[in-house]
Symmetry: C2
Subunit: 338 residues, 2 copies
């Protein structure tokens, strides 16, 4: 392995001068700089990351904590991974990906051993045991998702309540007065996925305000239960004119289900949904939807974390940032004449 000393010797300068050429923190004469840069190229020198980390107390690595829930539609998680990683690289950071079943212990481990400069927590739940761990370790962190206790931490998430209102309003504007809501499976609620009830409660409240009838259900996450459940919801409420689908497995299966029933959208049934843009493209979903942008959330989370790490004044006070939902109209809502 070639070190900064090898480069210095070859260029006939001191190690510190080489270091300053690398960092640009000092003005170096053009001539000296040229010699050093040549030596670096000839020797193929790259600074040792561990040594640099030790000297600067900065690793330029971010920890990313994933949790895999067997019951979850797998791509959901993946949507954040790439944006987080890409955003980190653009800011000069690498990603240490941690999938330990015990996330709280993992945070202590990578935090206390100074393997990372900051930590991104994905898929945060209402009572997330990783939070206490994050607070105990003296490393900045950022959450994607909303826990119960957000004191003194940066968290970012889609505004699911607002998303629900946007969709209910859209249906109401088009004259719909009786609709069915399909939420994620109930066990997602049980393990603390707050986005489920944030969306659901807001939808119920808004429908109530507007004098609409709304039938709320928890859906399923796998075939064939997904199919069965949708058929049941449709059978039970033949007079509902629209479906609000907040359930990836359901919305992906919906085109086939409706075809089976001979239903055409929006002629026979209106459909609005909430899903991520990537997901909609993957399954070519033709529905009016609030699109959650995992890439926006991921990028913003990393941006905030890096500001926090560098103690940038732009980081502001730690707190929750809810991203405004955006409705994309794909014509899947029929205007009802009354």
């Amino acid at each position: 392995m070639t070190t900064i000393g090898d480069v210095a010797r070859r260029a006939g300068v001191s190690r510190s001068t080489v270091s300053y050429v690398l960092s640009g923190k000092r003005t170096i004469s053009q001539e000296t700089r040229d010699r050093i840069e040549l030596a670096i190229r000839e020797l193929g020198f790259t600074p040792n990351a561990g040594a640099r980390a030790l000297a600067t107390a900065q690793t330029m690595v971010l920890g990313m904590l994933l949790q895999f829930h067997a019951d979850e539609f797998a791509p959901a998680m993946l949507q954040y991974v790439l944006p987080v990683s890409a955003a980190a690289r653009e800011l000069g950071y690498d990603i240490l990906m941690v999938t330990d079943p015990d996330g709280a212990a993992a945070i202590r481990r990578i935090g206390a051993s100074a393997m990372v400069d900051g930590i991104v927590l994905l898929d945060v739940t209402h009572q997330d045991p990783r939070l206490e761990s994050l607070r105990s370790v003296s490393k900045p962190g950022v959450l994607i998702g909303l826990p119960a206790d957000t004191r003194d931490i940066d968290a970012i998430d889609l505004d699911f309540a607002q998303a629900a209102r946007v969709l209910v309003d859209d249906l109401h504007d088009h004259g719909h007065r009786e609709v069915t809501l399909i939420s994620p499976p109930y066990h997602v609620v049980e393990r603390g996925g707050s986005y489920v009830w944030r969306f659901r409660d807001a939808a119920i409240a808004r429908a109530d305000e507007l004098g609409m009838r709304l039938h709320p259900y928890y859906g399923e996450s796998r075939p064939p239960a997904v199919q069965t459940s949708v058929h049941r919801f449709l059978d039970v409420h033949p007079s509902a004119t629209a479906l609000i689908v907040h359930n990836d497995a359901t919305i992906a299966a919906l085109p086939a289900i409706l075809r089976d029933r001979g239903l055409s959208v929006p002629r026979d049934l209106s459909v609005v949904s909430l899903y991520s843009r990537d997901f909609g493209e993957e399954f070519s979903l033709p529905y009016t939807a609030v699109e959650s942008a995992a890439d926006t959330l991921g990028r913003q989370a990393v941006g905030q974390l890096v500001r926090r790490i560098s103690r940038s004044p732009q980081a502001g006070q730690p707190g929750v940032r809810l991203v405004e939902p955006v409705l994309t109209d794909r014509g899947s809502v029929r205007s009802l004449s009354r």
Copy 2:
């Protein structure tokens, strides 16, 4: 941050003694050990990973290089991520996840700066530009997937040719003499996904040996093209009695497609496939299949890499290991009386 010096002072010993308690490389008197362990607990000491890496020239981190192909069914990639990460942790390693678009440059970066002890390459293509980069960097590597040039490197993959033979044989044994094969989309071939033609060529050759007619096609990866293509294949060969599906998007959509056509499996059509166990479970696929075990491949890859890193004699000569496919019979093949 508390250091080994703090612990030493508190326990009234030298830093080296603390270090030896940590590593267990020296016999320490019970009494001294107790004092030190108490001090470690009281101070909440965890060794600084960077300092340790510098002193030992070992980071205990493995690089994992992912490539995201926009055209690929996303979960395919994810299946390896978790097993690789889990296997690494069991062996004491963390995972640096690298998703840079330019994988070759990323390998040079993390290799030359000694951020990792070894590198796992996922989704290796026939002419993978990352290979040269891996060879140039003096770090052990392991490939998941099979490139054209496998000199002096460890690679592991499913034996796709054998998988094809197993499936063709199974159909032949049941009396099938005319079958249709649906491979992944052609652009996967174009970007060097050798598993496509390893499976396809072997299927064609075996069918030929056995005197079967086999109609080979490249399928699609997204709806609605997936649906359209399958309908076409079925229309064109009404006398084919079985389908061999080597295409995730197709097999996931197949139950709905066959229902649309009023075809029942295996009464009207026999179906065999190749997919990963996870994938089959996710979509509750009811087909006889060769199951690729991403977790086995991932774990074996990491195991081999770590043996290579530690220069274990058990690592053997660098080379290719093909994992034997396993057929799981789910009764989707009809026995044809002749």
